[in-house]
Amino acid sequence: MEKDQKGQLKIFFSYAESIGKTAAMLKAAQGQQAQGLNVAVGCIGTRASQDVVLLLREFDRIGPADKDGLDLDQALKKRPDLILIDELACSNGQGSRHRKRYQDIDELLKSGIDVYTTVNVGNIESLHDTVADITGIRTWERIPDFVFDQADQVELIDMEPGELIERLKGSEEDSVFTMEQLTALREIALRRCADRVKRLARRQQKSGFHTDEHILVCLSSAPSNAKIIRTAARMARAFNSQFTALFVETPDFKAAAAQDRERLRENESLAEQLGANIETVYGDDVPYQIAEFARLFGITKIVLGRSAVTRKYFLGKMPLTEQLISYVPETDIHIIPDQSTDKGYRPRKAKSLQGLNVVENTAKSGCILTGATALSLGFYRLGFTEANIIMVYILGVLLTSIVTSHQIYSLVSSIASVFIFNFLFTHPRFSLVAYETGYPVTFVVLFLTAYITGTLAIRYKEQAGQSAKIAYRTKILFDTNQLLSKAGNRAEIIQAAAKQIRQLLDRNLVIFENADGHLSQPCFFGEKSSMEPSFHMDKELETANWVLKNNHMAGAGTDTLSDARYTYLALRVSDRVYGVVGIEAANGPLDAAEHGILLSILGECALSLENEKNVREKEAAAILAESEQLRANLLRTISHDLRTPLTTILGNASSLISNGYSFDKETKRQIYSDIYDDAMWLINLVENLLYATRIEGGRMSLHTSTELLSDIIEEAIKHMGRQAANRQIKVIYEDDMLLVRADAKLIVQVIANMVDNGVKYTEDGMTVTVTARKKGNMAEILVADNGNGIPDKEKERVFEKFYCGTSKIADNRRSLGLGLFLCKAIVEAHGGTIAVGDHEPKGAVFSFTLPLEEVTLYE
């Protein structure tokens, strides 16, 4: 349904400014308007040429004419058939809902409005570098390639470069580009259009869109990384392949400077925009991690920047590429030149080693060094060899590296150890001079051994930390799975998910459920004091609502409605949104790994919600089916059983009408009483049916009050039909004044059905006895007859729906078989039991119990 209603996007595309995109767009729109479509201008650039201004007069405008931007809400409200929006790549001003205009357009399209727009070749993300190389101008206004590729129509507005230069010569804005530049740009634009057409054609041919190629690009926090990502994306498009961006989080990354983190996130979102899957792995050994990933996911091409290749490694490690080649020799490795923009970039560590930590760590190192020196002095006194003392210092450095948090401490400790050793223990003592020729070697060995031991210990510690982190996240995911599978209902599922997200992120949360397309009441999780007052801002609700409607994340840290205080994500299974989760963004945005796990949790949560919903629907359907079945059975039985008495009534009445005069008195009386009896039978049937309709989902709804059992029994017997007149009905109260809690009407029906049953299966003149007595804390009612009784094998079945005994009913009329089934349902709904037994010497006894009621008398 959604797809049918989605609006069409047409892009007017050209290789440079002033070729006449806007004019072409307006002319096309003119044609549409002539065909009766309601066309409106969303926004047109202010520096429009004369013919554009003329054309503009023909269209309505949304929002004030002097405003530059697009009034999205107004446009959504007015709902024209077609809306014209210049400059697709434009960024929106502060305070707009979306950061980019293409997001506005997406929303318009989603709401079913067609859009015409214009874009330049330089504004397409993947072509950005190429164009910038030609023109030397970098533009910040760019659109992701998918916007261009997914447009329903792209019209290339072309013009010979010479003509363009000629045309611009007269006007104020002389062409800033040379003939060569324009020709190159034109070529790119033409090729991009051709590329798009080719891709479309290929997509139509086969549904399996991807080739076997799988391109991997490595993310980093370097500024040059963006170019590598774009290049890789272009390759992925060219090869029509899968595209993955990988970030290897090393232990060092924790200490990375804030601006590096920021840039990494930008690079990540760029890659995502260009259609890459973002993956994060943890490890110290970057090439090994890349290789492992490549092998696992069947990567065929790895794209790297040249700086990664030439970067020197400590102790002459092989360059990254070399190592990669040795790990995955079968994979292509593409190296992209990126140094021009990346002069002297090194990832910086965050400056502040926290103050307290420095003092604490220095103190620890100092103490250990002092301790080692003291011990060594002791050894020296005792005349131990220098080897022992060296060992003590190495041990000291090892300990330092274990108790401190940074490599610098073990480095300083190693150097200090060498000097102290030199100062205190080598001849001549108390000077930094060493005479013996072997000592420099000893010092170097001491330093290296101490330092390497320390470094190893620290690395070990960091790796342990890394694996603990991985294990922790794995555990959270596993726990989430467990918790969600245990959760029985929606509230529990949401509780479980919230608990897990809180555990993962330690941020305040808010969750809305999707209540038939609207947000439910928000559920807050976290420290209550800090959020609820700040939350009840319309902005937050608006954002959450937007997420619900558009199934796309929004809020703080995103491009949409970014002035909200929370980041909102949809709880969804593909296009079905089950709710919206808001995460407080006060502590900065989430990192990629957290985000990934968060998405997994949300995905699982949504899946659980969907399962829960399916189960619920299935149960409802089953209940419905069952009651439908019951109803169908009832109807079948009734329509059959109604026919018999109706036939007699109809026949008798018509014969009375047509030749009633000829009947003698006796015959007439017989006919009257037949009609009467059949009508009575029908009334009883209808009564039972009425009670049967009160059974819902196997349960009967009761309106109980305190009742005197004798009243009920008398009422039941009063209602017996004329048949009963020929039987003796005896009532015995073994206990006086039995008060029960019951739905009187229903119990009357039970007794009436039982007595009626007794009457039906006995001959004239026989006796039916009703006995009421106390039995423990229940009242027991027995209905006994002295007919033929019920065979043992049928006893179990008499209470079944539509079961009729095999024995003949006295008057040959079939019973509906509903009576005893109803009795059982009614009695059980009262909390009583029902049974059938044998009456001595012959006959059957039906009995049931009801809870007794204690009454306090109010005089």
Partner: protein
């Protein structure tokens, strides 16, 4: 010739026919109305002696008709209801109806109810606030605060006496549980119904002694009680 004028309010033609035929056969005078509004108009303009009112009317709820009529008239109203739920009848009785008939009903039943109501009217007209109430063997001397069955004085508890008086003063009229508990206890909550059942049971035991004693008090299951006129 019956002088009694009866207003029949019934939207279903066959049932209306049945009722009017019966009334005609027994020399009652009658008028008919097919909906609530015309029923109220008829009641106001012709001032009937008894109203037979179907609860399921096309234009308004029968209970509303009762309430509107009760604004100016105490004419006895017998409701006819096809609904199986007791609550409708109780609502009608609480709104001021005097008696009820449940569809399907027999002609005999209808005539019996009319007789009961007429007798009640007659009683109301000439007794009003009489000091002594007599019904069959039962005699209540309101001034003395004593009840007699035949020549014997009945030994009643204060509560039983109160109930007996309440029923006696409304002989022929069905009194709902709610009405009785409100009148006797001044309140109406669930536990009172239990008490009421016990007191009624003991009262009836004292009143209807022996196998051949006439029935003075009728139990209407799920609705209430009524004292009937005994010949």
């Amino acid at each position: 010739m019956n002088k009694v004028q009866i207003l029949v309010v019934e939207d279903d033609a066959p049932v209306r026919n049945l009722i009017t035929t019966t009334l005609k056969a027994h020399d009652y005078r009658f008028a008919t109305a097919v909906n609530g509004n015309s029923a109220i108009m008829e009641a106001a303009s012709h001032n009937p002696d008894i109203i037979l009112l179907d609860l399921g009317l096309p234009d308004m709820d029968g209970v509303e008709v009762i309430e509107r009529i009760r604004n100016w008239s105490n004419v006895p109203i017998i409701v006819i209801s096809a609904r199986s739920e007791d609550s409708d009848k109780i609502d009608a009785l609480d709104a001021g109806a005097d008696d009820y008939l449940t569809k399907p009903f027999s002609v005999d039943e209808l005539l019996a109810r009319l007789r009961v109501t007429r007798r009640r009217m007659a009683l109301m007209q000439n007794s009003g606030q009489e000091a002594v109430f007599v019904n069959g063997q039962l005699r209540i001397d309101f001034a003395l605060g004593c009840a007699y069955l035949g020549e014997e004085e009945m030994h009643l508890t204060p509560m039983e006496y109160k109930l007996l008086c309440l029923l006696a003063r409304n002989t022929g009229k069905v009194l709902t549980h709610k009405f009785i508990t409100r009148s006797v206890w001044g309140s109406s909550w669930k536990n009172d119904v239990g008490s009421l059942r016990v007191f009624m049971a003991t009262l009836r035991k004292k009143l209807e002694k022996g196998e051949d004693s006439p029935q003075y008090i009728q139990t209407h299951i799920g609705i209430g009680y009524r004292m009937v006129r005994v010949e």
